[in-house]
Amino acid sequence: MVDWTHFTPESALLGGLMIGLACALLWLLNGRIAGISGITAGTFTNSGPERQWRLAFVLGLVLSSWLWLMLAPLPVAEVTGNYGLLAAAGLLVGIGARLGSGCTSGHGVCGLARLSMRSLVATLTFMGVAVVTVFIVRHLL
């Protein structure tokens, strides 16, 4: 059943367009795929200018809420789970994204946008497993 009270079509679409614009600009200006896990990993494995633009991109993400705060109060972020669960989930996401060569941005947005079959398989896999995980946690446990 659709949760109409929490469905926010306008801000979702606008936010999506902004994310798309960020991916489009990084591609058209820098010739780079906006894959966040890959770029983050690359800040460790590269040096010089190749490291510098990656650090700049990650820094932009980290500081984005500061820019937001200059214009409006931050939206609510509700995190469920104790520190142990957050650590385990972080570890799984890090290992998984690196092993699977991408995450929601690299495969889910950029990969699907260039019609990559490999990214489609990756996206369906992580979406499917995430849906099953939420189902087990919320409805079976």
Binding site: V2, A12, G31, W53, L86, L92, G94, G96, S101
Partner: protein, 144 residues
């Protein structure tokens, strides 16, 4: 100014814009992401629209770039060259989905959340970085 400073400046602006987009979309709120993944409960379809909007704009940019000899800042277009559906791709994506489903955080929103000073976001990011480094460590050791 040297070229790589322009590349870093544009990457910084793209990172900012990406983060603002995540905040606008509600994706920096793990509860909203879980609401999308919970198709058996009260389902919030917002995230589907986020993906749709983002993919549509990026799709146009990819199409546009095919007619360009190089990027606007004079670099080559780094098209990903891997096409094979491999076991690491499937296993990695499955592990990623498990972690994503457990708390509703993936790398981008987690970096944004950590930037707000959220302890939860910081813990997630520290362990995510450990995970990334672990894979790189073992992959460089195991491959010739």
């Amino acid at each position: 100014m040297q070229k790589h400073w322009f590349l870093s400046l544009s990457a910084f602006i793209c990172g900012l814009l990406f983060g603002l987009g995540l905040l606008m979309a509600g994706m920096a709120n793990p509860a909203k992401v879980l609401g999308f993944l919970d198709i058996a409960g009260l389902w919030d379809p917002s995230l589907a629209l986020v993906m749709l909007g983002a993919i549509a704009v990026t799709f146009v940019a990819f199409g546009f770039s095919k007619k360009m000899p190089q990027s606007l800042l004079n670099t080559k277009f780094h098209w990903p060259d891997a096409t094979a559906i491999t076991r690491p791709l499937l296993a990695g994506s499955a592990l990623f989905g498990l972690g994503w489903g457990l708390v509703g955080l993936c790398p981008g929103p987690a970096l944004v959340l950590a930037g707000t000073g959220s302890v939860e976001g910081l813990i997630f990011i520290v362990f995510m970085l450990i995970g990334i480094r672990l894979v790189d460590y073992f992959q460089t050791r195991l491959s010739p």
